[in-house]
């Protein structure tokens, strides 16, 4: 029997990630790992050593991830995008749906294609969810993001929660931006660099 594939799903949209996970489990894949946090992403990938990585196209980590696949020794096995470049239909459908996949070199197309197809269909299904749900989620996420940004600043700068909030507010005001934008940028960058 062929060993089960381990599948890593990187998506900071937790709802969509759960939908994909459920779909994969229903299809008999039990080694599915979800990553929403970008903190220490490179290290996590090295630990998990996945066979397949599914990532949403909105994720600004893509350039960094691909660079890592090319150059670092953190990933033990070479990783290629999709399974077979000749399968133009799948690739186009994936990009259309807003998802990308990276697979360990040498994996057979028959093993990976159902996973990719599943991710594509679930991404599409997610897109159909109501705007209302999205809005509610965003509001909650904004509050969480600001809290996380404060936490990062408190840790890296050794300052209090009030001071962290003031620093975010001052940075936002100086650049005529919203606090949530500064917080988002800080959290993402912290995830990218905190490996």
């Amino acid at each position: 029997m062929t060993p089960a594939l381990s599948i890593l799903v990187i998506d900071d949209n937790q709802i969509r990630a759960s939908i994909i996970e459920q779909g994969l489990r229903d299809a008999g894949h039990f080694r599915v790992i979800l990553v929403h946090e970008m903190d220490g992403l490179v290290r996590r990938i090295a630990e998990i050593d996945p066979d397949v990585i599914v990532i949403d196209l909105e994720n600004p980590n893509r350039d960094r991830l691909e660079h890592m696949f090319q150059v670092t020794r953190a990933v033990q096995r070479p990783i290629a995008m999709f399974v077979d470049q000749s399968d133009a239909g799948s690739i186009e459908a994936a990009v259309e749906a807003g998802v990308s996949a990276y697979v360990v070199d040498g994996l057979k197309k028959e093993r990976v294609k159902p996973i990719l197809d599943m991710a594509i269909s679930r991404f599409r299904a997610y897109s159909r969810l109501t705007a209302e749900l999205e809005e509610a989620r965003n509001e909650l996420a904004e509050r969480k993001t600001i809290d996380r940004a404060k936490g990062i600043l408190m840790k890296t700068r050794g300052i209090s929660e009030d001071e962290a909030y003031r620093l975010l507010r001052k940075t936002a005001m100086n650049q005529s931006r919203k606090i949530i934008e500064v917080a988002q940028s800080l959290v993402i960058a912290s995830g990218l660099l905190g490996d």
Binding site: M81, I91, S100, T171, N174, S185, L186, A189, L192
Partner: protein
């Protein structure tokens, strides 16, 4: 002409100052004048730009100069044969460091006006002292492995004796995240296009130490990327698009339009920043620090053939750096391919001029360290560098 003859062109772009030609052509009537309905789609990563042009979502795209080469030589994923149909401008990038690193560099004698040699040697002394003291290596950010940013930063570092792979760490980050990463001490410096340097300077968080124009004078930055298959199927549309972009370039270069251009680019659907952040580069005067000095820096050079006509020698230099830093082995058969990707033919045909008339002065003799680039001996040129991968 009637409605029926209007062609739709979908273009992907990244929020950077040098998306200006596309933005202006789409919003100031120049595309329309050529019967083109130019639709712009903002993207979050260069990987998305590459993928979406490869699968045909985008007809053309704002691309890093080396990207069409990497795609055509199949050294990236989703590789499809592409052309750099025109340059979207010269100059563009700068290297910014944190205020703390700048203070240390000043103590080592860095040049206040951004001269890459003196400033780089100051950085090199600092890097050695840090290593001797057992401190962690400095961390720099660039936007993509196949980018002018990566090659310019590496060329500068290596030119002053700093090995970019051993003496410092180079990470990949999207442009809009750079200033915040610097503020929060996640990186010590970065090489990025405007306005993402000026934003750190305005905020008092960083200092521009040198810029692309000083490292490699009059060099291309972004290009209009197009797949061979789209270019071959739509030659007339591509020619009209190039003409529209050239008119947009002339409009951008007119000082009377600068304020308007800054306001347009700063809009939420494009760069989403303040007009003040765009103005220094558009004026060609960069303020290196919050209190100056202000230097003449051709960071946004548009209009005229030299700024827009592809030149195979530029493509070959990018290729030489791919070889130098181990992104590809040297393959003689690559050379004619690279020449074709950076061929002036499409541009010349679009404007109805003869390519030989477009040859500019030798672009190979414009590096800060004075090392000439010999396009006829790419492999020898690469082997001539003591520091390489």
């Amino acid at each position: 002409m009637g409605q029926g003859s209007i062609d739709s062109v979908v273009a992907g772009f990244i929020p950077l100052l040098d998306s200006a030609l596309l933005v202006v052509a789409a919003t100031r009537g120049f595309a329309e004048d050529q019967n083109i309905d130019l639709r712009l789609i903002r993207e979050t990563s260069w990987a998305n730009i590459r993928d979406r042009i490869a699968v045909g979502h985008f007809d053309v795209a704002h691309m890093l100069g080396p990207m069409p080469i990497a795609a055509s030589l199949k050294i990236t994923t989703l590789a499809v044969p592409m052309k750099a149909a025109m340059f979207l401008g010269l100059g563009g990038n700068a290297i910014t460091v944190s205020s703390a690193l700048w203070a240390d560099m000043q103590a080592e004698g860095a040049d206040e006006a951004g001269e890459p040699g003196a400033t780089g040697l100051a950085l090199a002394r600092l890097v050695r002292k840090r290593a001797d003291a057992g401190r962690p290596p400095l961390r720099f950010g660039v936007v993509h492995p196949f980018s002018g940013h990566a090659y310019e930063l590496r060329y500068w570092l290596a030119g002053v004796g700093i090995h970019p792979d051993r003496d410092v760490e180079i990470s990949i980050l999207p442009p809009p995240l750079m200033p915040d990463a610097l503020t929060m001490h996640q990186i010590d410096g970065y090489c990025v296009g405007e306005p993402w340097n000026t934003l750190s300077v305005i905020g008092g968080r960083g200092r521009i130490v040198t810029f692309k124009e000083a490292i490699w004078r009059a060099s291309p930055e972004k290009v209009l990327g197009v797949t061979d298959s789209w270019a071959e199927r739509n030659p007339d549309v591509l020619h009209r698009l190039i003409r529209a972009l050239m008119q947009a370039a002339d409009w951008c270069a007119d000082p009377a339009n600068l304020e308007d251009l800054a306001g347009l680019l700063a809009g939420p659907e494009f760069l989403d920043c303040t007009p003040a952040a765009c103005l220094p580069a558009l004026r060609g005067r960069l303020s290196l620090g919050r209190e100056g000095p202000e230097v003449e820096a051709d960071v946004f050079r548009v209009s005229g053939h030299e700024a827009h006509c592809p030149d195979p020698r530029h493509g070959l230099w990018f290729y030489s750096q791919m070889v130098r830093w181990g992104q590809t082995g040297f393959v003689p058969a690559h050379l004619p391919l690279v020449r074709a990707i950076y061929s002036p033919d499409i541009y010349a045909a679009a404007l109805g001029i003869a390519p030989p008339a477009l040859r500019s002065a030798d672009p190979g003799s414009r590096f800060f360290d004075g090392v000439p680039f010999d396009e006829a001996h790419v492999q020898d040129y690469v082997n001539g560098f003591a520091i390489r991968s």
